[in-house]
Symmetry: C2
Subunit: 151 residues, 2 copies
DNA sequence: CCAGATCAGTTCAGTTTCTGCACCGGTACA
DNA sequence: TGTACCGGTGCAGAAACTGAACTGATCTGG
């Protein structure tokens, strides 16, 4: 079992977690999901040191999650927009948000909720299986080697 | 909109992301989900520096995601087990795994897959809404202030 | 009875990374 | 002419990370 887990190393998940496990990265992406695109607004909202923000934005652009877009010329002004790859991370961030709301929130409840267009309700997200529609949690599933498994 | 996002600061999500955004944290939890409990095995599987591992385990225990359990006396030997709160993070990690498989994996496909007990298939996870069952993604949802919103 | 192996950690010194703060260059506005 | 805006950089000190060796207590094989 631990040998199985061990093969993950350096693989897709490892790389995903290496990207995402960089303190400010997910916070920046969260802002992006809420529509923030500008350097200055990111710096102000997050309270992140500006050189750190510059560094993170660069790695996110290099990784293809954000793109740096000229939005005004002379002097050239750039903003940062989510790419499709970046937008696909939304689910993971929402899952994290939900966990935080459940386990770390104050008594008042979550500071922000998500209105779901499909039903008009406040979204109550859970992970389900596309095949059977049943929930996926730690007990409902067993890991096994996939096609990209290396011996 | 950016003001809305801004209130998140220091809130549940912020804290969740601060915890999780610590390079090795999610990797350690991933191992834990696959059944790894021992210090030595974690160190070997992840290739994490041992002092770093010690530090991370301590913060995870302090945060209530793992518990340090005596499994053999004289000399006292401890292992690390997921708490319920830790187990609840499984969904978020799976979502991240899936994103990594989709955007960062090699051509062979994911190195590890999850067999879903409910249907016997390889789990194909997606985020859905408990109210309507429809998918939740960046386009399907709009953030708004929740009960814990602070002015 | 002794040499190794196990195992959860710690110590230490060196390197990398982060942080805070000031600052730049170019423009628009008053 | 002075100030505010805006994306971004430079620098020095603080904090975190890293690798390699080491600890202390026990068990195992010869």
């Amino acid at each position: 079992m631990d040998d199985l887990a061990h093969r993950f190393e350096g693989e897709s998940v490892g790389r995903a977690l290496a990207l995402v496990g960089e303190r400010w990265t997910l916070l920046i992406l969260r802002e992006a999901f809420f529509g923030v695109r500008r350097y200055g607004v990111l710096a102000r909202n997050l309270g992140i040191p500006r050189p750190t923000l510059s560094a993170r934005l660069r790695t996110l652009v290099d990784a293809g999650l954000l793109e740096r877009v000229l939005y005004a010329p002379a002097p050239d002004r750039y903003e940062y927009r989510l790419t499709d790859a970046g937008r696909d991370l939304f689910g993971a961030i929402v899952a994290l948000m939900r966990w935080g709301d459940e386990h770390l929130a104050g008594p008042e409840g979550p500071p922000i909720v998500l209105r779901h267009h499909a039903c008009g309700e406040i979204a109550d997200p859970r992970l389900t299986c596309r095949h059977c529609g049943q929930e996926i949690d730690a007990h409902a599933v067993t890991p096994e080697p996939g096609p990209g498994f290396r011996a």
